[in-house]
Symmetry: C2
Subunit: 149 residues, 2 copies
């Protein structure tokens, strides 16, 4: 598989990845570990909320978007490290049984100052469910290595 | 334990929570599930990166901040749901063995339009490690229920 460098990326380039199927066990497991609020961990109590049942933690939804981006695109790059997360909007609940698809786009490219190579990439994310409803959007920024030599 | 409502919160109110001890197994487990890049999942390959060893996924670091906020504060409230995440800066690596403390502050309060009660709360987060180094800062927005009746 081709290894991509910072120079191979172009603003507006888009990848579409998924689906990622979310089940109740995963929602509860993530919730218990990181976000133990009733709508994420307790099916009975969640039924009494405005959502009428369990929903995924927003952090879980974001982590699923990351997984789709890594599998579909970022694993082919030498990502140095993530630097930021911005503009995340949790627009609709993610429920057990949902199948999520990610649309990931290169939004901004900022080359590092010489003599460093590579640069900072801002990726925008949009996550849709099986009914084509936008459930989450946001952006992450990360440093990606440049062409060697 | 007292249940807090939207009306009980004041801008500038601060809570300090933790420590949360991060170990290698948790870093690798989170990485394998949601962010399978070498610096999060493969100790040997991670040793060859600029970090010189495993570091936590930024999403994992954020999820830890959430856990500290839920245990320390949010679990005493009727949180309706999260709506957004903004301005996250991943400033320093989080490594196995780190002990993280969260400083959580009420940054903005936006009451819902009547007849709805409660409102939107913007919380700022700052996460420091055992050396008092700021590793992450950011903000989340969520809807919190108002006083009943």
């Amino acid at each position: 598989m081709t290894t991509l460098t910072f120079e191979d990326l172009a603003i507006g380039e888009v990848g579409e990845f998924g689906p990622y199927r979310v089940d109740e066990a995963e929602i509860v497991e993530f919730g218990r570990r990181f976000d133990p609020q009733r709508m994420h961990v307790d099916p009975e109590a969640a039924a009494g909320t405005i959502f009428g049942g369990l929903i995924a933690s927003g952090w879980h939804t974001c982590a699923i978007a990351m997984r789709l981006a890594v599998d579909g695109w970022l694993s082919r790059m030498d990502v140095i490290g993530g630097t930021g997360i911005d503009g995340v909007r949790l627009l609709r609940p993610v429920r057990p049984g949902d199948a999520l698809r990610a649309r990931v786009a290169v939004e901004e490219l900022l080359p590092s100052a010489p003599p460093r190579s590579g640069g900072s990439v801002r990726w925008s994310y949009a996550l849709h469910n099986q009914d084509d409803v936008l459930v989450m959007e946001g952006a992450t920024t990360m440093l990606v290595a440049g062409r060697p030599g």
